[in-house]
């Protein structure tokens, strides 16, 4: 490791402490992992099932986040909407809301007797609780703010002078968005998407409260882990290892490419 002249030793020490703080619990988990029986544990039906549900739910949620979040981030960064601060605060609320409360709120809104949910059932015969779609809704609810905050921040730091330049050269607003704004935004969108996807993958409280817990339908890896803690702690650790491995597999290769280094 070479130390650049602008990296004071004290800063490096604190950074190292932070890394230790974040990795120590994970290392402790690895140390308690039942390595010898791991293969058998991981081939169990409930583990495979939970992994399948988790991937389906988190990837679908990430897709919805991309579609809903990109326009929202752009509007928050570029359009002078009234009460923008209030809107932004409302948008990030799910980040601070305890997920269990978020799940209960979702029930009040989209449950069978919820504000909107009762009409969904009456008109379209759609009920979200206890379905995989419900798990996707819960995951999207908690993950969307992470994407919006990341992309909006990137839009603000890059500024809009290139956009204005393109406009004065005669490009239509949609063309500016498509040919100037979005291409430069791809790295931030990738970073925000990775964050949102990771949040969706680890989502627990809103899912179990809103969507329930049924193997093969709504029982994601975090729910299966919680369930296993009751009866089989070794299986719970094995399940967390799957969660760690899946998220590392996605986050490791994407990080350098998506997070602008300089």
């Amino acid at each position: 490791m070479t130390r650049p002249p602008n990296a004071p030793r004290s800063v490096l020490v604190v950074a190292a402490l932070a890394v230790a703080f974040l990795t120590l619990p994970v290392l402790a988990l690895l140390q308690r992992a039942p390595w010898s029986g791991l293969v058998d544990l991981l081939r169990r039906r409930e583990v495979v099932e939970a992994l399948g549900v988790s991937l389906l739910v988190s990837l679908t949620a990430a897709g919805i986040v991309l579609v809903l979040g990109t326009p929202l981030a752009w509007v928050l960064a570029r359009v002078d909407v009234p009460f923008r601060r209030l809107v932004r605060a409302l948008v990030v609320l799910p980040m601070v809301l305890p997920p269990v409360v978020g799940g209960t709120a979702l029930l009040f809104a989209l449950g069978r007797r919820g504000l909107v949910g009762q009409w969904l059932e009456r008109w379209f015969d759609v009920t979200l609780p206890f379905t995989t779609a419900g798990a996707v809704v819960a995951a999207t609810f908690v993950a969307l703010p992470f994407y919006v905050v990341t992309v909006e921040g990137a839009l603000r730091t890059t500024g809009d002078h290139l956009e204005q330049l393109a406009s004065t050269l005669g490009a239509s607003p949609l063309t500016v968005l498509r040919r100037v704004t979005l291409p430069r935004l791809v790295p931030a969108m990738g970073a925000g998407l990775a964050l949102a996807w990771a949040r969706a993958l680890g989502e627990f409280g809103a899912t179990i409260t809103f969507a329930g817990n049924l193997p093969g339908r709504t029982r994601t890896l975090p729910l299966a882990t919680f369930q296993a803690l009751e009866s089989d702690p070794e299986a719970a650790i094995a399940l967390s290892l799957v969660l760690l491995a899946v998220s590392l597999a996605v986050l490791l290769p994407t990080r350098d490419r998506w997070l602008p280094t300089r």
Binding site: L107, G111, R112, R113, P129, F130, I208, G212, N213, L214, T218, R219, F226, Q227, L229, E230, S231
Partner: protein, 257 residues
């Protein structure tokens, strides 16, 4: 420059509020910490009040799933008394029980008999319940896949008892606690739920799905004192007054001793 006075002022206000709250709060004089299975929360609050009246000893309740509480005790949580819906968990805690010899003073206090473990404190039966707002049901609905049915997960006492009594059912969601099942029914998100008889008695939002006789397999609660200061409270749990409170809440109190 001081660009965000509102944020700073808000923070100051919150800190002032916390400070004030800290000053008005009574000093921590809860002498007894009782870990209690969530299905016993309400009745234990009444039992604790009664105990505080007679003994002058304050009680702090920590409610949760029996398994989680047992794990916390195993990891050294400062529980004086443990009330569990799963008596087998007490075997796990043998070391804490063995480290709690009954002192002479305690023995005097309850006339020569101080149980540190009560294996059959009370029984709670399972009931198939429906939301009061929903239609009445028939026993056949329990196995109807189009009926939304919720139950406790296996590994949780109410789930194990339900599995023992009903076998495989087309459950739509395995909830982490009986309280969670109650919430599903109270919100009318499920058509049927397997809950405790005490839950049906305590909530107006729930009703028996059809007339049901108390039947076992059911849940048997156990109590254990984990420290010398917990012994008198556990002894109190077998008193007539405690049995009366248990019965009022819909439990079947264990045999008198």
């Amino acid at each position: 420059m001081w660009t965000h006075p509102p944020a700073g002022a808000t923070l100051l206000a919150v800190l002032a509020w916390l400070g004030a709250a800290g000053c008005t709060e009574a000093p921590g004089d809860a002498a007894l910490t009782v870990f209690v299975a969530s299905s016993l929360t309400d009745v234990t609050a009444d039992l604790a009040d009664e105990w505080t009246l007679t003994s002058g000893v304050g009680v702090e309740l920590v409610a949760g799933g029996s398994n989680h509480l047992a794990a916390q005790v195993r990891d050294g949580a400062p529980a004086d008394v443990f009330l569990t819906a799963d008596a087998e968990l007490l075997d796990d805690l043998q070391h804490r029980l063995l480290a709690n010899p009954v002192t002479d003073q305690m023995t005097d206090r309850v006339a020569g008999r101080v149980p540190t473990v009560i294996h059959n404190l009370a029984i709670n039966h399972l009931v198939v319940a429906r939301p009061t707002a929903g239609p009445e049901r028939r026993p056949a609905d329990l196995r109807d896949p189009s009926v939304v049915l919720v139950a406790c997960a296996t590994g949780v006492p109410c789930g194990d008892a339900a599995a023992a009594r009903f076998g495989d059912l087309p459950v739509d969601s395995f909830e982490p606690s009986a309280r969670a099942v109650v919430a599903r029914l109270a919100l009318d998100e499920a058509d049927l739920g397997i809950v405790y008889a005490t839950d049906v008695a305590a909530h107006t939002g729930l009703a028996p799905a059809w007339p049901q006789e108390p039947t076992c397999p059911c849940v048997t609660y156990a109590a254990a004192s984990l420290s010398p200061s917990g012994n008198p409270f556990v002894a109190f749990l077998t008193s007539d007054r405690a049995r009366q409170i248990l019965t009022e809440h819909g439990f079947v109190a264990g045999p008198p001793r």
